[in-house]
Amino acid sequence: MSTSSPILTVRDLCIDLFTARSALRPVDQVSYSVAAGETLAIVGESGSGKTVLNFAPLGLMPLGVSIHVSGSIRFDDKELVGMNDEALRKLRGGSIGVIFQDPMSALNPARTIRRQIAEVAELHLSLTSTQAEARALDLLKMVRMSDPEARLRQYPHELSGGLRQRVMIAIAIAAEPKLLIADEPTTALDVTVQAQIISLLKDLQKRLNMAMVLITHDMGVVAGIASRLAVMYAGRVMEYGPVQTVLTAPRHPYTMGLIDAIPRAEDLPGSAFRGLPGMPPVLGPPIPGCAFVERCRHAVATCETTRPLLAPTADRHVLAACPIVNRSSEALHAG
């Protein structure tokens, strides 16, 4: 694991959203950190808050929602919580690169690939438009685009999903960011293309020594690229630790359930699928006890009323928000 000090440190982050009708808390006291050259994966199901967690502090939220952020996000010795829009705009696409899930809706359909990449280089690296367009070609080569000269003249609709995602990545790294946030970068792609994009992201991260936060729901992607993992449920981090340990010996009952649900090679055709009982919680106001209590087979009475905080487990590198595993992690594993 990286020994360098973290480039991004999130402490006790809470995000409240107020819509016309309701007050929601999609992010509830979340803490984590990422160092240069390191990849943190944030996994969770829909509504777990993993996207809001990363995008709200950058000022990326739907219109018509008012938002309140508390806690602290230190990025590169600057505090992001409470930062003004102008300063945030400089960071976005500058020292923080962003890759979205759906490249088709993230790209401008009416502009050539050349213009879209060059625009970022002009804005953040203060290049002239000729310099920026030359840089666009270099970037397409960096993301291993086939026939890069021809691609520059094309429009997004002329490209396949995999090529569009490569363009998105080229835009995200145009200003050589210190942090790359990738929101489900391969979810919309086919599995053979996904393998290529993951290999590309790993390679670029090494070359640029970027810190990377990868938001995903696919444990296979996590295992292939990340060094640390935060498992989210209902806006809270349930388990946090090295990927190796969390994926092979999960401690929190939710993580255990998620990993157990992945089909294994020894499962015979026609055999029952393993999963979790019940349904994930609907996004709402803060929950008083543990958010997972209704689906947890280890729950005791206090789980309903007292919120378990993230605390070191028997393996001190792994943190889990569950008093049961923290009290007797060995016993639970045996059971």
Binding site: G161, G162, G224, A261, L276, P280
Partner: protein, 334 residues
């Protein structure tokens, strides 16, 4: 497995669409033959644009095939028309991917199911009510949901309603197009288990169209793999997954990331380069040859014949036997 006892048989089916390029056609399904035995779950896998959904839609008549036959119990649906065709076709029902789009917002769940029951000739109100409760129970939903609207339901519940509605006409075959890919991970298992139960208890056969290979492996006894409009491999799931005969199947399996970091640490460079070519202008000869690590000159000339690897396993590749024996591109075991 003899195709003669098959419940559903598709022979040489071709479905084409007009291309955006003038005068050109896209053969989304290009001469596909598959079959389903009674009460069997069969997987249909492939990447986007391979024609798997178009094939499913052509079977139920949502697309009009240009040529080929769809037979149910040996009866060619193409020879039927009008009422007879509608009645026969009712035995084949379709479950859509998106449970948010396939239900009418303004109908209660009970009304949505009633509509299907009326089509099935159940006009008596008491009998309708009884069947609604029975169907909701079969898909594991509480009776109170009959009075609710789709917006009050979760994605998993909606998909169960869509399944209940397709069961209302007592079908013998379900064509399920990515029925769980819009659902959360922890909910998927619940809906997949519902399909397994329906198959066991009602004997409904199921063509399971999906891109998730692990899901299909566990649900289906047999599997077909499609690439650019063609079935390139078919056979028993265990055999196809353990010893694929087509380099594409092999590469597809090798591309699925494992959730075990120890296995991922050993991962080598991706097996396949580039994207699937445009179906408007597919490569000559073998359609996979432009991405195939094993491609030879002959592959550009002749379309490969289907090679039988066992009584129940075949692949359309000139080196299928070597691939099957693991002599080239050994599949990753996970």
């Amino acid at each position: 497995m003899p195709a003669d006892t098959a419940l559903l048989k598709v022979e040489n089916l071709v479905t084409r669409f007009k291309s955006v390029e003038r005068g050109k056609w896209v053969k989304a399904v290009d001469g596909v033959s598959i079959h389903l035995n009674p009460g069997e779950i069969v997987g249909l896998v492939g990447e986007s644009g391979c024609g798997k959904s178009t094939l499913g839609r052509s079977i139920v008549g949502l697309e009009k095939p240009q040529s080929g036959r769809v037979l149910l119990d040996g009866v060619d649906l193409g020879t039927l028309s009008g009422r007879k065709l509608r009645e026969t076709r009712r035995a084949i029902q379709y479950v859509f991917q998106d449970p948010y789009a396939s239900l009418n917002d303004r109908q209660t769940i009970g009304e949505a199911i009633t509509e299907a029951l009326i089509i099935h000739g159940v006009s008596d109100h008491t009998e309708q009510r009884r069947r609604i409760l029975e169907l909701l129970d079969q898909v594991g939903l509480p009776a109170v949901l009959a009075e609710r609207y789709p917006r009050e339901l979760s994605g998993g519940q909606r998909q169960r309603v869509a399944i209940a509605r397709s069961l209302a006409v007592e079908p013998r075959v379900l064509i399920c197009d990515e029925p769980v890919s819009a659902l959360d991970l922890s909910i998927r298992a619940q809906v997949m288990n519902l399909f397994l139960t329906l198959q066991k208890e009602l004997g409904v056969a199921c063509l399971f169209i999906a891109h998730d290979l692990a899901l299909v492996r566990q649900a289906a006894s047999r599997v077909y793999v499609m690439y650019l409009g063609k079935v390139i491999e078919g056979g028993g799931s265990l055999d196809v997954y353990a010893r694929p005969g087509h380099p594409y199947t092999s590469a597809l399996l090798a591309s699925v990331p494992s959730a075990d970091p120890r296995i991922e640490a050993l991962r080598e460079a991706p097996v396949l380069k580039g994207d699937v070519p445009s179906p408007t202008n597919p490569p000559s000869g073998c359609r996979f040859r432009t991405r195939c690590p094993q491609a030879m000159e002959i592959c550009a000339v002749n379309e490969p014949a289907t090679v039988a690897l066992s009584s129940d396993h075949s692949a359309a590749c000139v080196i299928a036997e070597q691939v099957h024996r693991g002599e080239v591109i050994a599949p990753k075991v996970h």
